[in-house]
Amino acid sequence: MEPKPWPFPFRPKDGLSLSEALPDRSLFILVAMMSFLAALTLTGATGARTLSTRWAGGAAQLLTIQVSEPDQPLSGASKSDKTASQSRAEIVQADLATLPAGTQVHRLTQEELARLLTPWLGDAGKTALPLPAVIEVRLAEGHEAPADLEQTLNAHVPGTVVEHNAEWSSRLRALAESLMACAALALVTVGGIATMITALATRAGLSTRRDIIEILHGLGATDSYIAGRFASRTGGLALGGGLLGTLLAMAPLLLLFRMAAPFAASTLQAATPAMPDWRTLPDLLPGDMLAGLAALPCVAAFIGWTTTQIMVRIWLRRMP
């Protein structure tokens, strides 16, 4: 019989048969699951950081002032008083005009107010409840509201409520930072588990190929060659598993981001209870989060490759 052409150019010909020693399924699926978890954690951390940044940057400079019976004149004002012709809300707005230069004062329109209340009251425009005026005050960068602003306003217009968003923003920022720390810990844990899984798979592969490795070693194979062959296999499997896990995580991530989008607004005017359209969603996703997700399969491959290199080289040290 005429022998077949030889050599076959695209087949590894060192007898290690790593596709049998390190089978695809277990390592691939486990890394996919780890990457899925890592993608969710990474997104949670990015979301918490985005919200923290917005609250710190935008919301901290905001004051929200509520004026009850806004369109009523101030009770007890004499006809000679210049405020007699003004409504309670107008008097408060006039007081706010004395705040430092650069301060923006905006009284929410009925439509803006109705939109904010819709999630809680339904069609707020038809409610019989008396609604207060809501005045949004955005202080200029580096300026703070006067400490006695609430007393001053109350002295002129009794019942005026001033909400300092800065207090809430610092608490929310602390919460977001805690969440980010937890996410970082979770990512380190996931990385640690991935490392252990790879190490165990490599050890199993080494023990099933012990004889073959000893032959290669005797023929003059370097540690780099043997470690490289194993590392290429685990690195490739981890890359594939990482890609699959990250892609599978995209569906719940997009859903979560769509749900979280209304909470990311930094001003009351920008806030909307409506969720963004699916088609516009990719534009809303933070760039650094997308970069992190894209890097996940590479990180998985790096962990797999490095762990295997170290494991195999340590194992080979038993032989001279």
């Binding site: 019989m1 022998p3 077949k4 030889w6 050599p7 150019p9 010909k13 060192d14 007898g15 048969s17 004889d211 073959i212 032959i215 290669l216 070693h217 005797g218 023929l219 003059g220 194979a221 370097t222 540690d223 060659y225 032989m319 001279p320």
Partner: protein
């Protein structure tokens, strides 16, 4: 050139009885030595030591002008192994690889060009009578064919030292004689050859100096 001076080897570092004790001999470049002795005398252990599969526990070993100790860098040991051809008693072939791929392994590990490898492998396999079995898996070969494949793999890269442990066990007499003639020719061309055997007829056919081991000690250095 091989030189051993008071070389001992223990299987375990703390083992009290060494497998090989105080061996001292030398073989010049291009020398041929039979390695004789009863079973369990330490012939295979000595060949493993000379193949740098193990390192001496005591004494000094010099192989192909390189000192081999526990402190010798791994890269040096790897290069040494690449210059040694070893025929093991149990052949140690890669069962999943073809005959040709098995024989090509030492050349591939030394990154020789693939076209050169093809030529060398074809020539050596033709010489050992396996030229028409290039693509047969090693696991499907008979004992004699496996032995010839192992011999081809040991000499294909023109090593400076050939070590053979009972290389004619599975061969028929004409093939065994042909192999001996080849070892003798390689020796005369400058390759050092050490052949461990029980086959006295073979030793008689090719009279060369013998190293005789008994219980891990050298009892005769025929040099």
């Amino acid at each position: 050139m091989i030189r051993l001076s008071n070389v001992s080897w223990r299987r375990e570092r703390k083992a009290s009885t060494p497998v090989l004790s105080n061996l001292s001999f030398s073989v010049p470049q291009g020398g041929f030595r039979w390695l004789l002795g009863p079973s369990g005398a330490g012939k295979t252990s000595l060949l493993s030591l000379l193949h740098v599969e193990n390192l001496p526990s005591d004494g000094t070993l010099c192989l192909l002008d390189k000192d081999v100790t526990a402190h010798t860098p791994r890269a040096v040991l790897v290069r040494l192994r690449q210059r040694i051809g070893m025929v093991h008693q149990d052949f140690r072939l890669m069962p999943d690889l073809s005959v040709a791929d098995n024989v090509a392994l030492p050349l591939r590990l030394q990154h020789r060009p693939e076209d050169k490898i093809t030529d060398e492998v074809h020539a050596i396999l033709k010489w050992v009578g396996l030229g028409n079995q290039l693509n047969v898996r090693a696991s499907r070969l008979s004992g004699g064919e496996q032995q010839r494949t192992a011999i081809a793999r040991a000499i294909v890269h023109r090593p400076g030292l050939i070590l053979a442990d009972e290389p004619t066990n599975a061969l028929e007499e004409p093939q065994a004689h042909k192999l001996l003639d080849m070892f003798s020719e390689l020796s005369s061309m400058g390759t050092t050859v050490i052949v461990a055997t029980h086959n006295e007829a073979l030793v008689r056919r090719l009279p060369r100096p013998a190293l005789t081991l008994e219980r891990g000690r050298l009892v005769q250095d025929g040099a």
